[in-house]
Symmetry: C2
Subunit: 320 residues, 2 copies
Amino acid sequence: MTSDTVNIRKHLAWIAADWGSSNLRLWAINREGRVIAAVKSDRGMLSLTPSEYEPELIRLIEDWLPERPVDVVVCGMAGARQGWREAAYLSTPTPLDRLSQGAVAPVLATSALRVHLLPGVSQRGADEFDVMRGEETQLAGLIEKTPGFSGLACLPGTHAKWARLENAVLTRFATFMTGEIFELLARHSVLRHSIGDANDADTRDTFQTAVRESAREPERYTQRLFGLRARDLLDTALPQGEARKHRLAARLSGLTIGLELAGARALMEPGETVTLSGGQALCARYALAFEAIDQPVALFDGDTAVQAGLALAHRSLSAG
Amino acid sequence: MTSDTVNIRKHLAWIAADWGSSNLRLWAINREGRVIAAVKSDRGMLSLTPSEYEPELIRLIEDWLPERPVDVVVCGMAGARQGWREAAYLSTPTPLDRLSQGAVAPVLATSALRVHLLPGVSQRGADEFDVMRGEETQLAGLIEKTPGFSGLACLPGTHAKWARLENAVLTRFATFMTGEIFELLARHSVLRHSIGDANDADTRDTFQTAVRESAREPERYTQRLFGLRARDLLDTALPQGEARKHRLAARLSGLTIGLELAGARALMEPGETVTLSGGQALCARYALAFEAIDQPVALFDGDTAVQAGLALAHRSLSAG
């Protein structure tokens, strides 16, 4: 046992967990609410059967565990029907400071842990059916940091979420398949021959122009996609080699994010500051997109948000 | 040798060929311009090296060939740079009765054939880069059947083409990646869990409603895609089993075709009759989509169109 793990055992108060489809991140939290250790694994929901969650969790954190039982508060797909145990969706409107009321506890072999799986949120209605699982906890982090928060949040990703919060209540949200569409087109469509890795450094203008084109004329999205291929065949103004592939990747990214912004416009008040929360690289790209359409943004680090949301849930579990 | 092949040899005037990315179709044409035999193969451009085209062609038609040399007029990807031999793109505006002027002849080992590869068409301009290869010959079929044709044509498919013709000249066109996007989403995205084969019989209303939604609000396309998944999880009004998957597939198809119609609206005059040309099943589905947005259509069978376009090219090759 290292002095580090002695220290973690001594100071550990509870464990925060973001257990998604394709990976798992765990944070050891002390009594002051600080992260004192972190560990991650690629054993997400898609690669686990229900009986494999507990051993995987223990494998990762056994060095952290003191004698007394420890709470583990988990958000994300581990609580899905096809996950560890189902934590049924809460419905909108959803008070984000009460997610813990929908938590479920899987039966454990060990007595060293108490696991709480937080619920996702669902929205119903003719043209409004939607679900989230994990992002509600990230949104709860906004409430934890700014009690009574009202505003519009954008959480970019494979399935980007836009959420309207009114006085700490999630009233309405919308998911856009932006990240998944980009990946499908870049890796599996005819465009794969033309596309390289997006490289934000050299391609800012290309990206922002494409954002504006899609935001202005979203109906031409699939036409502009094929236009990418045609440009690669015909446009003598394009650079050669990797620079060309970067340029076309930036355009594909801009067209796809611009389409999302066009769709999300109905949710935005003119001039409203949108709270953008997620990973650093993706948020930087989205910030450029918002700049292109003159919509102000405030950044809120995604990991900080998830940890704060889990802390809020942990506190109300302990109080309840 | 069967009496059939004796008859073909006796009456064969020339051979029409549509040689695409993934298959090859050949028609034996008599002096009256009638199809007297047909054969196809799945050896398209994507599965052939340049030296493999001639053996594949001869393998398929050797029973048809008389003593004298025979013209084979070919449209499609066989004339692409990565095909048999490149027939460089003609530029718009393109007189469709002069495609043969851009034809190239690959060098052959046999003296039994004279092969003519027809060119594709390219369009340049900041926001207008586009290419077609094969569809120009289908459009030439419109000219062959209606000399001096003017109007707007829609050719649905993996990469749907919309073309404006003015007095037999192709002046402008636009490609929409509709079919490819549908396939990517139905087979490779998170929606694959929810989607079955589209089944036009039971799902007409679902399809037409989705067309109208996308045509009216194209900016919500990727949101409605995720909504499909959410409906599958939440909507208790959906039927169970295969009927559910058919319903959701029809909705995906309607949303995707509706997005195309929204984009193509800039090309359509209000109330203009659009000439819809392609395969029977896909044209039937597009006809329902046009009906949903109250745009009149005239149907022109795709094979008839290609054969007529090849016949026009063959006649001008013989005259030239």
